[in-house]
Amino acid sequence: MRTFIAYIKISLSNQIQYKIASYAGVIVQFCWAVMNILLYRTFYLSNNNTNMSFQQVVSYMWLQQAFYSLFATWSLDSKILNSIVSGSVCYELCRPMKLYNSWFFQNVARRIGKALPKCIPIILVSSILPGEFRLRWEIKSYEFFAFIISMCLSLVLVVSFCMLIYIIVFFIISPLGIKMILSALLDFMTGAVIPLAFFPEWMNKILAISPFTYMQNIPLQIFCGSIAGFEIIYSLFMQTIWVLIFILVGNILMQKAIKKVIVFGG
């Protein structure tokens, strides 16, 4: 736990080095949310009878942009990727810590470090905007509690998924192509392109048993109030299951990867 806090500390101070980039990021994310909201406002003029109300879409968009760096599946740590390709990974192998845990901590910490300076101003500003653009806090306290838990689970799920990608890089030398294909697929499946609520029924049924819907869709929907009651508990349960599966698979693969490094010298 202390190691983890140390990782968070160092990645936050690393982020502070890029202050201006962070400010710029806030503005970009803010504009992105505004543009999306404007787009959906026009869409809603033609039809109001959808799975999500316009108000819910507004909240969804704000939160999605606020926590963008937390859940972006394609955001891999170039430090780790480079260390695999260049062989610096041997430094980490010389440390008294399992490589999986070390990378896992680093990634969670890095995402929190990146998201924290962005999400606070975006949430603050969007909560005091006038009229229909406002982020509505119409969430009950137990739902908010579930939202926080679900956020943590989503973060851990995304990271444990990214761990699989890092480990794959051990086995293939040039990760760029795979990364592009995966990120295209994931952006869509997780609801980064359009909210999953607008997907056709049959696709949502498939996605419900896949891990993708649990990577950012669930916490955002809980906050917007578009899923409630038993559905929340079920979703949290599924999130946990997928986290466990990914961590288990990741650890097994990691052992194989390390063995490969250890036997063949990387």
Binding site: I20, I27, V28, T42, S46, N47, S174, I181, V193
Partner: protein, 258 residues
């Protein structure tokens, strides 16, 4: 021109060394825009129309932007990655040579993965053009070509503009992605659907609406105003301005050397 073709040849020869990787990135880009297309499709299955535009009209707009943007990205990638060009000293080397800097940067690198998007844009054209209710006379074909060419030129000059800003500041460059990546992302839909203010910004500051909302309104018969058919030509003076701005930037760079 001969030099440029030489650059292109060199690039394709170096690519063939990494065929597998190149093909994967093309597929990746194809998928990215395929999913963005699916997104539009799903949205239209929930909503009937968008600000008076039908599904086919939106797709026409989408393929126009995708085509022009990916073509521009393919050729002008060097400007998109300009900060690296400066920081690793390649730009200094470019200035040492007796050829125009813009040409050399255009030749410095190409982005083959964008062919994936380009290919997709063509597929959508094939699907959408017969289905759109555009009357195919010479003038309308001219307008369509005008959109393509001016769109390509516009995006190239946006990349040059982005690179020019690097001469004046190296920090906070991400903000300008709102205009480059933003025009691709949000230009999928005619800018009028975002409201008046946004439309004005994307007409006068970054004239992307000139190659989508106005001419498409004309093509689809939403307006008879002939002026709308010629708005893409507004890109020409815009590009001239950008190039002047670029030259000022280069002058500043060579005089301060930083």
């Amino acid at each position: 021109m001969i030099l440029y073709i030489q650059y292109l040849k060199a690039y394709f020869m170096s690519i063939s060394q990494y065929k597998k990787s190149a093909i994967l990135t093309i597929i990746g880009q194809f998928l990215t825009s395929l999913f963005s297309l699916l997104g539009i499709n799903f949205l239209f299955s929930q909503f009937n129309s968008l600000g008076g535009f039908t599904y086919e009209e939106i797709l026409l707009c989408y393929s126009n932007i995708t085509f022009a943007f990916s073509l521009a990205e393919f050729f002008a990638r060097g400007f998109d990655t300009f900060p690296y060009l400066i920081s690793d000293g390649r730009f200094d080397r470019i200035l040492l040579r007796p050829r125009g800097a813009i040409l050399q940067i255009l030749g410095a690198t190409f982005e083959i993965s964008r062919l994936g998007r380009l290919f997709q844009a063509i597929l959508i054209y094939i699907w959408v053009l017969p289905r759109s209710k555009i009357v195919w006379n010479f003038f309308n074909i001219f307008v369509l070509l005008e959109i393509q060419i001016c769109g390509f030129v516009l995006f190239v000059s946006l990349f040059i503009l982005y690179a020019t800003i690097c001469f004046f500041t190296t920090q906070g460059l991400e903000i300008f992605n709102i205009f480059t990546d933003g025009s691709r992302e949000f230009g999928k839909y005619p800018f009028a659907v975002y409201g008046d203010k946004v439309l004005k910004i994307f007409t006068y500051v970054v004239p992307v609406a000139c190659i989508q909302y106005y001419p498409i309104s004309y093509l689809t018969g939403k307006t008879g105003n002939m002026l709308y058919a010629f708005t893409p030509l507004f890109v020409i003076p815009y590009t001239v301005l950008v190039v002047i701005f670029w030259k000022i930037g280069v002058k500043k760079y060579t005089s301060t050397g930083s």
